[in-house]
């Protein structure tokens, strides 16, 4: 039996998504830009998908730009805004995904200054800290909705309100890739200018994503060509992928309460684990506002990677919070930012709307066995010591 708890890495495509993709690949093979009837059918399917994604975010269809994934959507939102900006100061939270962090760092070589806002030990950046880090010429700000490693929700709506109250006219980008269709999201009240989504985190196809770009907000395209997607994203449309993303968005919207069920299962997992394993704690306090699907568990004094393999041997698939004590792994910038040392394993169990109560029980039992197995063999080694 497989218990798949790595949905924050990639969530399995739902059968309806597969059917929609297959249909689009089989029947809607024409280029949506072609003038004939087959092209028109493809264009209609594309616009329907755009409407479906917009509806999930309570946005206008014209505000959706399809992309090849979350990374491209983040790059278009952040670098696209920077290309048109007058100011030369960009601010990001220190715990952004590399898609945002490295994009922001790339601006430094073009003469920009970069500010990073550190989170509190609970893994959240405060609106006050963000506001305090802004300069008069800050042109771009990026803060993620939910952290991919530890699941903490960032106060993006609060930041948006504070920006408005302060009368700031910068471009506010939100990486919502870990939204996962499980967190209530209303772009109208968010106060952001752009927001990035990824298809395969929503049970859609890989290689798909979207940028919501507020009407009136402007970004420059990352490259030019046939000027599809309103000129912001040249290249023949990935119709099957985007139709699949549209279908995934519909399925998310049909079950908006899934987030509460998933959160309850996550809490159950955490309490089962902490009851059974004395050394286990949640990486951030359980009361911290968190994405419903991410349980980040810290296991004192153990290496992460063997734990993952031991879990895998018991049919449970999860991820390391990236702070392995493996010599060649880079320690996680997120865990470093909240002060988690590399001597502890941080494991990420990420759930989905498909996760069941029985999955949770199996996972908790498997983790107890895995911890016993690894702890019995591996003694704690200070990082950097070599055989």
């Amino acid at each position: 039996m497989i218990v798949y708890l790595d949905n924050a890495a990639s969530a399995p495509p739902l059968p309806e998504v597969l059917a929609a993709v297959t249909h689009a690949m089989t029947d809607l093979y024409a280029n949506p830009s072609s003038a004939h009837g087959l092209g028109a059918a493809a264009a209609r399917a594309l616009e329907q998908a755009r409407g479906e994604v917009a509806a999930l975010l309570r946005a206008q269809p014209s505000e959706i730009v399809f992309t090849c994934g979350g990374t491209e959507a983040n790059a278009l939102g952040l670098l696209g805004a920077a290309a048109l900006a007058r100011g030369r100061h960009v601010v990001v939270s220190a715990i952004e995904h590399p898609a945002v962090l490295r994009s922001a760092e790339s601006l430094v070589s073009r003469g920009w200054q970069l500010g990073k806002v550190m989170p509190a030990p609970d893994g959240r950046v405060s609106a006050e800290a963000v506001l305090a880090s802004l300069h008069p010429d800050t042109a771009v700000l990026a803060v993620m909705l939910a952290n991919n490693e530890i699941g903490t929700l960032q106060p993006v709506a609060e930041i948006g309100r504070a920006l408005r109250a302060a009368g700031r006219k910068l471009h506010f980008h939100v990486d919502a890739v870990q939204f996962a269709g499980l967190i209530p999201l209303d772009v109208e009240t968010l106060g952001a200018d752009s927001l990035a989504l990824s298809g395969h985190k929503l049970h859609g196809p890989k290689g798909t994503g979207a940028l919501w770009l507020r009407k009136g907000a402007r970004v420059a395209p990352l490259w030019d060509g046939g000027r599809q997607e309103g000129g912001l994203r040249s290249g023949t449309e990935n119709l099957p992928g985007w139709v699949g993303l549209g279908r995934a968005a519909v399925l998310c919207r049909e079950n908006l309460r899934a987030g509460q069920q998933v959160a309850a299962l996550r809490d159950r997992l955490e309490s089962l684990v902490m009851e059974a394993i004395p050394r286990a704690t949640t990486t951030v306090p359980a009361a911290t506002p968190r994405a419903p699907h991410i349980a980040s568990l810290r296991l004192a004094g153990l290496p992460a990677e063997p734990l993952l393999h031991a879990l895998e041997a018991r049919g449970v698939f999860a991820s390391a919070g990236a702070a392995c004590s493996t010599r060649a792994h880079e320690p996680s910038h997120v865990l470093a930012a909240i002060g988690v040392g590399v001597e502890d394993a941080v494991l990420r169990f990420s759930l989905s709307r498909l996760t069941t109560e029985s999955d949770i029980k199996v996972a908790a039992g498997a983790l107890r066995e895995a911890v016993d197995e690894i702890a019995s063999v591996v003694e704690v080694r200070p990082r950097g010591t070599r055989p």
Binding site: T326, A328, V377, E379, R381, P382, P387
Partner: protein, 388 residues
């Protein structure tokens, strides 16, 4: 068709056994170009000559540059032994060479070699005719003492070969002529390099690696397989044995003081390699050990490990500095694979402070709690075999 002239070096020194070495070299060259379109291998005196379809020229050169025993190769134009055709080919090869590397435009020299003594022109006459043609067509000046560009012309009975490129090959002895060995291969930087060096001296090898699930994952295993495949491109190894080590490793870990663990593991690995040598007809064990690099690699511990071996242990890297090993790893294409971040079975079970000079009596006392011969036999028996 493209012809590639392949030169071999010290095979000439091998008096009475020369034909054995040459036959092994020819077999290895054949194996290297197998599968390329229209590939043929012949061995006129003093050369191995490979011909392949033109579109396979680049791939054939890449593969021949990895055949031990060859010292250099030259892709050549192959034509009828006729002086006008030879001159035209010399011009074409010279032009192609300076296009690849404009530095060579500085000066050139014709280097003729006439094995067909019935050819109407003598060597220096060939050089004069071809030299005139090249300088007239390209304007490159002649310099017979320190030429930047050397255009070789070889006139044999059936054909003439003209070339302006000489690519280095690794030298050494054809893999296999020195016998067979078992290579202890990990996912690290050193052991693949050790295997490469052993192959350079003519050893054909079977690689043996140890896998400790769940302490090592599938990706660590794939990494060792990728390293073995890269060594197979050099004909250094032909087979990879993957031996399950978890249970034995746990028992060894519990058997003695933690600081003895590394010596205990390595003694067990050597015992398994010994059994594999016997079973597969190999005469030695090759390791990536290096004097002083880590705690298990002191004189005392190397001796503690070697003492259980019934076969010769070869350590090609014993005197290498890490930078030398790393440079070689880059050259042979194993470094980027070794640098992948997956745990291999060596790194996790290792204590914080391994003993640098374990007492043999302590080691043996720890092992006495296990049936080490049976453990080794079981591991060797159950090892998974991958043909590369």
């Amino acid at each position: 068709m493209t012809t590639i002239l392949c030169r071999y070096g010290e095979l000439f020194l091998k008096g009475g056994n020369r034909h054995i070495f040459l036959q092994a070299l020819i077999n290895n060259v054949r194996a290297a170009v197998r599968g390329l379109p229209e590939a043929k291998v012949s061995s006129p005196h003093g050369r191995v000559v490979v011909s392949v379809a033109d579109q396979a020229r680049g791939e054939a050169c890449t593969r021949l540059e990895r055949v031990f025993g060859l010292v250099s190769i030259s892709p050549a134009a192959s034509l009828a032994p006729d002086i006008d055709a030879i001159c035209a080919a010399a011009v074409a090869e010279a032009q192609a060479a300076v296009e690849r590397n404009p530095e060579l435009r500085r000066s050139f020299k014709i280097e003729p070699h006439r094995s067909n003594k019935h050819f109407p022109l003598q060597s220096h006459e060939i050089a004069c005719r071809a030299g005139d043609a090249v300088s007239a067509a390209t304007g490159i000046p002649v310099d017979v003492h320190q030429p930047a560009l050397r255009v070789g012309i070889e006139v044999a009975t059936q054909a003439a070969h003209v070339f302006a490129e000489r690519r280095p090959a690794p030298g050494g002895l054809p893999a296999g002529v020195s016998g067979r060995a078992v290579l202890l291969l990990s996912g690290g930087i050193d052991s693949p390099v050790a295997g490469w060096l052993a192959a350079k001296r003519g050893l054909a090898q079977e690689a043996l690696t140890f896998h400790s699930p769940p302490f090592t994952g599938e990706k660590a295993k794939d990494k060792v397989i990728a390293l073995a495949r890269q060594l197979a491109r050099w004909q250094a190894v032909s087979t990879l044995w993957i031996a399950g080590f978890t249970d034995t490793q746990k028992r060894l870990r519990g058997a003695g003081r933690p600081e003895l663990a590394v010596v205990l593991y390595r003694r067990m690995m050597v015992r398994v390699a010994d059994l594999l040598c016997e079973r597969e007809g190999c005469g030695a064990i090759v390791t990536g050990e290096n004097l002083g690099q880590v705690a298990s690699q002191t004189l005392t511990n190397m001796r503690n490990i070697e003492i259980v071996a019934r076969h010769l242990i070869l350590r090609p890297l014993v005197t290498y500095d890490k930078v030398e090993t790393t440079a070689l790893a880059r050259r042979i294409g194993t470094y980027d694979i070794s640098a992948l971040p997956f745990e291999d079975c060596c790194s996790l079970f290792v204590p914080a402070h391994p003993a640098t000079a374990a007492r043999l009596s302590d080691v043996e006392r720890a092992e006495a709690t296990l049936d080490v011969a049976k453990e080794a036999a079981d591991i060797a028996e159950q090892a998974e075999r991958i043909v590369l």
